[in-house]
Amino acid sequence: MDTLTPTPAPADHFLPRTDAPSADLAVATRGLMKRYGRQVALTGLDMSVPTGKVYGFLGPNGSGKTTALRLLTGLLRPNAGTISLFGTPYTWHDRTRLFRVGSLIETPSFYPYLSGAENLDVLSASGPPTDKRRIDQVLEYVGMSGRAKSPIQTYSLGMKQRLGIAAAMLSDPDLLLLDEPANGLDPGGMVAMRETLRYFTGELGKTVVISSHLLHEVEMLADVVGIIDHGRLIREGPLHELLEAAGRVRVRVAPEDMTKAAGVLREFAPDRPLYGVDSGDQAGWFTVGVAPARAAEINRALAGAGIYAAGLEPGSDLESIFLELTGRTGVVGATAAAAPAPSVEPGPPPMGPA
């Protein structure tokens, strides 16, 4: 019986991409490298963000997400590689190209003694010409109109975060780069942010890159996902395809039926490992690598073989994919076969097709 092991990324993901960035891409990086002294933060990032989509940029702590965003916003200089914004090359000195970009990098940063509105006012003096009326508009977007005149030092983390998002949207950019935008937001704030970003992409046709460790949040928002680890993109693609490809169904049978059931279940995904637990409290659970929609089909096949499922849990989520790919804590099957298979909660349906 197979044990649970991390699924390696296809080998071709580790080869440098040579295709030219197309105009349909809001952001494209090719072979992007960045070192801080002897420490290598990015080891050749090939990232493609389609225009008009929400791109979920995921990775463990220290994987290079923030470094990548800093490179995209001209805060850092790459050691190698290229960046394209909206189909044309972008370098450190092409500052005006950033007029189309709004960003919130790491923590929201403001003058603590100025009010929220004043901070946006002084910020609007830099970069692209910005209509003063836009300040009230973005404050309203993020639900901060009521506290606009209070000094920042009286704001909670969530309020600063909202203001950070407002600041990023100040110049009505075509591309929003948001680094952990949900940090400190209460549930209401997260829903509001989600709606605002959906409006931003869905209605206005703009592009959002959202880096977050809140995988559930990204799963609810993103159309396309890129997963980065050790400074390199290890998986990228439309979220629904990713979920489908990494889909799984958990099925429980009587422990004495496991060998027979394994023969039936292996037929469903001959190319993917079949995970099972043959002892302990979780004995009898299988994890089959098939699309969740095929759960009923599995049940029928088992019944046809005279095996009756005691439990059936269809579904897959970004979290399990992320953990499998990055091999971090909670790694699926880091222990032997006796370890319980991960509980796979059915997540909300992915957003529209990419």
């Binding site: 850092l76 950033l98 970009v101 100025l114 910020l123 003096a125 830099s126 970069g127 692209p128 600041a167």
Partner: protein, 302 residues
């Protein structure tokens, strides 16, 4: 213009601006009150000339500008200008707001020059306020001690006043530019202010030491002191960044020698002529601003 307007808003709303102004005014007031207690009506410590057989002092202008310039521009004003400029620009790193500006596509050079212009405008207002407050304190102290004061507008009074104000402002501006550059290079308001103050005080100590050394050297060569103490120099160290400001002030109308610095070099050294001191001061000013711009253009902002 919109960048300068934004910088002025930041300066106006920041408590530090007002604290430094109040500190400058209070210390100026205290110094004049202490002088007032000491003079007892017969000294010319406020700046003036001895008139009459009884040696009565009349405070006259431009002579009184010596003391005013010393506090408003050289010692107190110069030091506070360094602290203000360093804290004003360095805070952008400490609060992380610089990355917002750069990520919006703003030119680093334009942003820094806008900030420098904002500092220059605030310092112009601050220097003028301290200058006129010191002028007022001259009157108050003199009257309190029964010392008559001549009008500062008599004769070439207005020209003298403006010349003192302008030269003093340039000195303050140069010192602020040095604090500004240090803060940009160190990317910190606290480090900028502390290093700026250390440089200011350190140069004062070094200059005093070198002055005494130069004088001792001359004394050792058997200089002719028969007809009284002879001034020597100018010496190379009078062109150092902080000291050269005092040399500029020494040329202001009414300021005797280079005593405006409050240091001992005025006792032993000839002041550097204005036609040399002023270009040197302006070179330091521009080099400091250009160095700041070059440094920021090369910096990675984290």
């Amino acid at each position: 213009m919109r960048l300068i307007r934004a910088e002025l808003l930041k300066a106006r709303r920041r408590t530090m601006t007002w604290v430094l102004l109040v500190v400058a005014l209070v210390l100026t007031g205290v110094i004049y009150l202490l002088i007032g207690r000491a003079i007892g009506g017969v000294s010319c410590a406020l700046g003036g000339v001895l008139r009459g057989d009884q040696g009565t002092c009349i405070v006259e202008f431009p002579a009184a500008y010596g003391l005013i310039d010393q506090f408003a521009f050289s010692t107190l004003g110069g030091l506070l200008a360094i602290v203000f400029a360093a804290a004003f620009v360095g805070a952008d790193w400490n609060w992380g707001v610089l990355r917002n500006v750069i990520a919006r596509g703003e030119s680093r050079a334009r942003y820094l020059l806008g900030k420098a212009a904002g500092v220059a405008i605030v310092l112009a207002i601050g220097a003028a306020l301290i200058f006129f407050f010191a002028l007022l304190m001259t009157y108050i102290t003199a009257f309190a001690n029964g010392v008559p004061v001549a009008s500062p507008l008599r004769g070439n009074g207005l020209t003298d006043m403006l010349a003192n104000l302008l030269l003093g402002y340039l000195v303050v501006l140069e010192r602020a530019a040095l604090g500004f550059a240090v803060a940009v290079l160190l990317r910190s308001q606290l480090a900028g202010a502390v290093v700026g103050i250390v440089l200011y005080l350190g140069e004062g100590i070094v200059t005093t030491f070198l002055t005494l050394t130069a004088f001792g050297r001359m004394f050792g060569r058997g200089g002719d002191f028969g007809s009284g103490l002879q001034l020597i120099g100018p010496e190379w160290f009078q062109y150092l960044p902080m000291t050269v400001g005092n040399q500029v002030l020494s040329s202001a109308p009414g300021v005797s020698g280079n005593l405006a610095s409050g240091g001992i070099e005025g006792l032993f050294l000839k002041p550097v002529p204005l036609e040399q001191a002023l270009p040197a001061l302006l070179i330091y000013l521009f080099v400091a601003v250009i160095a700041s711009v070059v440094a920021l253009n090369r910096q990675e902002v984290i």
